[in-house]
Amino acid sequence: AQSVAQPEDQVNVAEGNPLTVKCTYSVSGNPYLFWYVQYPNRGLQFLLKYITGDNLVKGSYGFEAEFNKSQTSFHLKKPSALVSDSALYFCAWEGGGNKLTFGTGTQLKVEL
C-alpha cells in the first residue's frame, strides 16, 4: 500500500540547534508531499509542499524540506530551532482527488 512513514515518535533538540523531522514515502510515480504542523488542541497548519521542480522547498516559519528521490525521503528541516517550534508535525502525500494521507506524526520538543 502507498504511504508515508515518520519513523520517530518524538524528536528532542536544543534551542538554536538545527532540527530535522524525518519522512519517507512509498508512493508510485511522482509523489505530491506535504508537511503540516499542529499545536495543542488546534487544527493543522500548512507548512510546505513538494509538487515538482526544485528539490529544496521553502515554507513558513523558516522551515524547509528536501525531496530526495533516491532515498524516497522528504525530511523537514530548520537551521535554528525555537522553543515555539515545539508541536506535532505531520508528513502527508496526496492520492487521487486531492485527498491527503498522513503519517503518524512526530512530536518535536525544543528545549532551552
Binding site: 505530491y32 506535504f34 503540516y36 488542541n41 488546534r42 487544527g43 493543522l44 497548519q45 500548512f46 509542499k49 509538487i51 506535532l88 505531520f90 496526496e94 482527488g97 486531492n98 485527498k99 491527503l100 494521507t101 498522513f102 503518524t104 506524526g105
Partner: protein, 114 residues
Amino acid sequence: SQTIHQWPATLVQPVGSPLSLECTVEGTSNPNLYWYRQAAGRGLQLLFYSIGIGQISSEVPQNLSASRPQDRQFILSSKKLLLSDSGFYLCAWSAGSGMGNTIYFGEGSWLTVV
C-alpha cells in the same frame, strides 16, 4: 482571503444522542470539502470528502454521515453516537480537485461521548 469556521469547538454528548458538526468556508467558491478525525492525539483519518453540493464520498464505513447543503457548508452528523465516535474532528477545504492544491484545516471540534 479565505477562512474556514468550524463549530462547536467542544461537545460532550451521551451515547445514543444525535450529532451535528458544522463547517463553513468563506472567500472561495466550489471548494473541495473534507472531514477528518484524529484519534488519540495522532492519527488522522479521512472520513468524508465532497467535490460539490450533494456530492459526498465516504472513505470508511462508520456511524457517521456528511451532507453538503450549500456550496461552502459541510455538516457531519450521526443519529446515535457511540463511545468510539469520541475524537477530534477537523474540517478542511481546498480549491478544486486539481492535484497539488493545498488543503487548509479548521480549528477542530472536540467530541466526547459519555
